[in-house]
Amino acid sequence: MNNRLLEVKNLQVSFNTYAGTAQAVRGVDFHLNRGENLAIVGESGCGKTVTSKAIMGLLPSPQTIIGKENSYINLEGQNLLELDDDKMAEIRGRDISMIFQDPMTSLNPTMKIGEQISESVFLHNNISKEEARKVALNMLELVRIPNAKLRMNQYPFEFSGGMRQRAMIAIALACNPKILIADEPTTALDVTIQAQIMDLISDLQKELNMGVILVTHDLGVVASVSHRIQVMYAGQIVERGTVDEIFYNPKHPYTFALLKSVPKLSSNNKETLYSLTGTPPDLINPPKGCPFAARCEFGMKICRVEEPKPMSFGDTQEASCWLHDSRADITGVPRELISRGETYGK
């Protein structure tokens, strides 16, 4: 239990829009252990980013409604949902840090890199600006930016995309946070730089023993660095498990489809790349039953009527899908998908 860094229970986030209230996150539970790398995967608009911003308390305040009944975000026993703005600002950057998708726009264009890094050091530690600058310099060296001394006095426009993401990581890690949330940190970068940045994040994670929440839609990135994966769809977690479980024994047809759509080097290149048809459901009026039912190859009648309960497959894997109910007709369903679990909470 002492190993639990973060515990999220029944997180519900909705947004007021002109069209109505969009339920972006609908009852998400998960936890993160010390030194663990947890990946949250899913396609755009499934609630990954909203979940991570909710943990950071960074969602725009007047439009966002975060459900507080029976829900909590516990950081080492402290419920972040109950903290006010100023208290939350103290936690941000010190205990939980976040890096973002687009390093080109995520740095202040009129502030020197060194200043941007030392700002958070200065904010959270009781030290002088000079000392904060020294920490910042160390951070730049830690994220492997050559010529760190010179780079300290440069502006973001003098940095390349990969360098800026390194600088972002330096800002995020400057106060030695317990948790790093990386929201699609490599999406805007080219492939070789992607690999470097992912390696850097996973090296630093081991070095600093942080918990990392990696938000991504790229399963290829996840495979090499994460320990556990949770798959989100329409604001809910539809499946979770260790990396091996998810890659070799996916239980949810959505996970299955995600894995199928990863291009493989070994496959015959004349094959058409698999793509999942349709779009995620409208979250202003979420559908009855399983949210994935409309796009599911193996959809049954029950799927459109009643929401499936999470079922467990061993200690670590869990999926919410009616296919694993003993009454389901499983003819034609791929072998990897079938193996029946136990329904939770009955």
Binding site: M56, L58, D85, D86, A89, E90, I91, R92, G93, R94, S97, M98, F100, D102, T105, S106, L107, N108, P109, T110, M111, E119, S120, L123, H124, Y155, F157, M168, I171, A172, A174, C175
Partner: protein
């Protein structure tokens, strides 16, 4: 930086040269004869003497070279045709400071009040204060300055007798023209500052600033304000140049002996030495203002700053 400024000054000189040349030939080619307007009743012989005095008997090209030589060697814009005995330099020297006094006060008010209101409005978006400010801004932008001036004269001066309707010389004479001059500018600065703040506040780097633990005040002070000043600086250049030109309509309405008044009079009389002189004077101010804006830009935005190498 030094290299940058010298380069800018060099380019400005070329610009000025082109402006002087263009103005000279345009005025020379314009219909109307200032001498005839001034001394229409004189015998032809006398007119010719006067023409020769101003060099108007020579061909245009020769006049141009004479004018340029005179301007470059002595800095003299030439004697006014209408105001005999006064050179354009004298007129500028005597009257530009009056326009400038009003202009400087008005522009400072515009920038300070406009930017402050913009900040208040931008950070209290969609709240009562913001709505009131925006309503006033729209009103102030739509109503021309001379209408504002007339309203001020009627209510503040005539009805309530708080200040004199017009006149020049004392502090109380400044109040109405400065107000009438400043209101439109205040409104535009407010409008631009507000939208600039709102767009900067939505930038990704503001979320980064919040994510590293900056509290609201610090986010505003260290991250939003500086970045939202960048588009405003573009507006300051022309405004500073406008300080000296004043507003001839306002100068007329308030009987202020400023330069704007002379400029308009010289155009209607075809007083070409005055026209060219005042045009050059404005052009110099304008180019200086633009150089200052470029330097200011570099101070606020490092991306525009010129590298030392």
């Amino acid at each position: 930086m030094f290299k940058f400024i010298t380069k800018r000054i060099f380019y400005s000189l070329i610009t000025l040269f082109l402006i002087i040349t263009a103005t000279f030939f345009l005025i020379a080619g314009a219909p109307g004869d200032p001498i005839a307007a001034k001394v229409g009743q004189m015998p032809d012989k006398a007119q010719e003497v006067i023409r020769a005095k101003y060099g108007l008997d020579k061909p245009v090209v020769e006049r141009y070279f004479l004018y340029m030589k005179n301007l470059l060697t002595t800095g003299d814009f030439g004697e006014s045709i209408i105001y005999t005995g006064k050179s354009a330099n004298d007129v500028i020297k005597a009257n530009a400071p009056i326009s400038a006094k009003i202009g400087i006060i008005a522009v400072i008010l515009q920038i300070v009040i406009g930017i402050s209101l913009g900040i208040i409005s931008g950070f209290n978006r969609e709240k009562v204060g913001d709505h009131i400010i925006r309503f006033c801004v729209v009103l102030a932008i739509c109503v021309p300055s001379f209408v504002v001036a007339a309203l001020l004269q009627y209510f503040v001066a005539f009805k309530w007798k708080l200040v004199p309707v017009f006149g020049w010389g004392q502090l109380k004479h400044y109040i109405l023209p400065v107000t009438a001059y400043a209101i439109g500018g205040i409104a535009s600065y407010t409008k631009f500052m507000r939208s600039s703040i709102i767009s900067v506040a939505n930038e990704d780097y503001i979320i980064t600033a919040k994510a590293k633990g900056c509290k609201k005040k610090r986010v505003i002070k260290n991250h939003i304000l500086r970045n939202s000043m960048i588009p405003i600086i573009t507006m300051i250049g022309p405004a500073v140049a406008g300080i000296f030109s004043g507003s001839f309509i306002l100068e007329k309405m308030f009987s202020i002996p400023g330069l704007g008044n002379y400029y308009v009079k010289s155009v209607s009389n075809g007083d070409y030495t005055m026209i060219i002189g005042i045009t050059i004077f404005y052009a110099i101010l304008y180019t200086i203002a633009l150089i200052v804006v470029d330097i200011l830009y570099g101070i606020v935005d490092p991306r525009i700053r010129v590298t030392e190498s």
